[in-house]
Each structure stands twice: as C-alpha cells, then as structure tokens.
C-alpha cells in the first residue's frame, strides 16, 4: 500500500491510511488546503499543519472534503470519478482537439472604441456651435452694413469664428476617420471572439456528451454505493432503496457514494459522522482518510 499519508501538526506526527484527528480542533478547509498543497500554512509552529500524500486528482475537488453540509454536483462529480477510474468516451479525441484549438485561439485586442466615440461626439457638437456662431455673426454683420454702421470689430470676430469652425471641422474629419479605423479593427477582434465562442459552445456540447457517457459507465457502481452507504438519512423514506433514484440521494450519501466510486489517491478529509471510525471509512471508501471533527 503506497498511499499511506503523514499528517504533522506542530511537532506531532501521525501516519497511516486512516489518520484520526477528530480530537484536535482543526478546520476541515484548512486540512483540505494542506492536502491540496494550495496554500502555505502560516500559523504558529506549534499548530503548523502539513500533510504528506500523493497529489490529488480532479475528483478530489468534488469529494475530497466530506462534511455534513456538502453540496455535490453529483453528475459532474461522478463523471470525474469515472475519469479517475480510467473510463474513456467516444468524444475524447474531439475534446482534446477543441481544447487545443481554444488554447491556440488568439483574440486581437479590442480597439478603444469608447475613446473614438467620445472624441467624435465632442467634435460634432463643437462644429454645430461654431457653425451657429458664424451664422449669427454673419447676420449681425449684414444688419450693421445695411444700417451703415462700423463693422470692423464684427469682421474680426467673424474671421475668428470662421477659423475656429474650420479647425473644428478638421478635427471632426480626423475623429471620424479614427472611429472608422477603430471599427475596422473591432471587426477583426469580433471575428476572433466569434470563433472562440463557437469553439466554447462546441466544447460545452462535447463535455455534456462525455459526462453523460461517463455517468452511464459508473451508474450501477454508484447506485450500489448509495444503497450500501452508512447512515440512515436517505431521500426515499420508505426504505425501498432498490427502486429509488440514486441521484435523489441526500447530499452526504451522494458525496460518499461518488467518493467510493472514485479512485482516490490523496486522502479524503472526513468531517461527518457516518462511520464508526476512520479505518472503517477508509475501507468503505477505499481511500486514505483524515478524520477531523465535524464543523460546529
């Protein structure tokens, strides 16, 4: 048996296939983190926790922690359990190629359309304002001329306004061109996003097909595990378990059954009291077990 595990808490060390830490005050989440090696333990040396065990596989994410409040996504977990047993599906090649295509899919960065729109929006209103100002000044100039009054001041103003209008028109033309260019770039980016989205849709379909296949492959084994699961809180109250839908089992039973179906190398962190002792649990689950106290 190569899957013995070692749990160290401070300077205390426990080894075996079923390690009982139920006497210690341990947060189950913390133990799972130690099993998965995801976070370095930063607690004081006296309570520092480390677990030496084989690396957990994907199924450990689903049933590596069994508490009274587990909420397994049973079919997904069961499909992963089937994978851990080496079950393959007819769509595995397609899955691999779509995943590879997705990994290679490059999406060009989207241009800053917002900036281009904002720039153009400003110029439109500036041109309108300038045009109005030029028209007003022209009207006033015309009126003054007709009245035979001095127009030199107004002529200067009109010349300024006309120059400003021309400037704003130039800026608007540039802003339009910039937006047109950004839109062309956006099209390339959207084409790429669209291709990626199609690949993701295809991947999702293939994953669904694969999951159905995987679940079907271990369904009987899972149903048997549900029927054999310890504890009495089961979905069907009449006890006719043989006829009951195993997928209607309560969450803890479902999670235990998936764990029993799975080939688990890394220890299951067990924080529910369905088993008499950790060794029983390890035997029933056919997996290494770390027993911790039930969370309050």
């Amino acid at each position: 048996m190569t899957d013995a595990l070692t749990v160290r808490i401070g300077d205390e060390c426990r080894t075996g296939r079923a390690v009982d830490c139920s006497g210690r005050s341990l947060d189950p989440e913390r133990v799972v983190s130690a099993v998965r090696g995801v976070t370095a333990d930063r607690s004081a040396p006296a309570t520092a926790l480390s677990v030496t065990c084989p690396d957990p596989g994907p199924v450990h994410d689903h049933v590596g922690l069994l508490t009274p409040s587990v909420t397994p996504r049973t079919r997904t977990a069961l499909a992963t359990a089937a994978r851990s047993r080496g079950v393959e599906t007819p769509v595995d090649d397609d899955l691999a190629s779509v995943r590879a295509a997705l990994a290679d899919a490059e999406v060009p960065a989207a241009p800053d359309l917002e900036r281009a729109r904002r720039r153009l929006a400003g110029t439109e209103s500036a041109v309108d304002e300038c045009r109005e100002r030029v028209a007003t000044l022209r009207g006033r100039l015309q009126a003054r001329r007709e009245e035979g009054r001095d127009t030199s001041g107004l002529e200067g103003e009109l010349a300024e306004a006309t120059a400003a209008l021309s400037e704003h028109e130039t800026e608007r033309a540039a802003a339009r061109e910039a937006l047109a260019m950004a839109r062309r770039e956006a099209r390339a980016s959207r084409d790429a996003r669209e291709r990626r989205r199609k690949l993701e849709d295809r991947l999702a379909n293939l994953e669904r097909t694969a999951r159905d296949h995987l679940v079907a492959a271990v369904r009987d084994r899972y149903a048997a595990a549900v029927a054999a699961a310890p504890g009495d809180s089961r979905a069907s109250g009449d006890g006719s378990l043989a006829d009951a839908d195993p997928f209607a089992a309560d969450d803890v039973t479902a999670a235990l059954a998936v764990a029993r179906v799975a080939d688990l190398r890394a220890p299951v962190v067990l924080a529910c009291d369905r088993f008499a002792d950790p060794a029983d649990a390890a035997a029933w689950l056919d997996a290494p077990v770390i027993r911790v106290p039930c969370p309050a």
Partner: protein
Amino acid sequence: MVAKRSAVLLVVTYSRAARGTLRNVCRTHEESVVRRFGRVALFAETEFAAFQALRLREKHGADVQIERTRPFNEFDALDAKVREAARAYEERERPSVPYSSFAAGTDLPDPGRLRERDIPR
C-alpha cells in the same frame, strides 16, 4: 411616439457569458426587447433599454457590441431602379442566371455600380 421609437438598438454578444447575460436581461425586461435572435437582440430605443445595453457592455466589455439602427424605407432610400431590379430578378424565368448576366444589356443597374453606391443617409 410611434415614429420616435421606430429605431432600435442592435446588441450583439461575442462570448458565452455575454450571451447568457443577454438572455437574462431579455427575460427580465421584455418591454425593452423588440426581438432576440440567440446571441443578438434588438432593444427598444428607450433610455431604459439603452441603460440595459450599456450595463451588458460594462460587464462584458468588447464581447458586447451596441449599434443603433434605423428603419429601412426603400421608397426613401433607393432609386426606383434598385427596387425594380430586385423584383424583375426574382421573377426571372431561369433560376440559374446570375444577376450580372440578367442585368447585362438591359436598363437594370449592373452589380458593380450597385456595390459602389451607398444608400444615402
């Protein structure tokens, strides 16, 4: 008010997540949605619908495209020749004739010219 609301916002999504949000928005705000085609929807041209469209883009960035479309009136927007060409071509006797051959040697506009001309704004 009918004329005012005849334009619509075109909302196109380019990712699964954005499509999912679009679906939810359409379900929740039916009054703002003129029509939904899968990952695309036409929103009414109200500020509330525009607010929903902008929310989508805030959430999903470049995976959401918003455009404003206007009603198409072929009697305003086009030369009679273009309308007549469409009718005549769809009434042709030999279905296999491409439009360029069909139009050749007639008064109908040739496709090259049609491609060059934009619909006036």
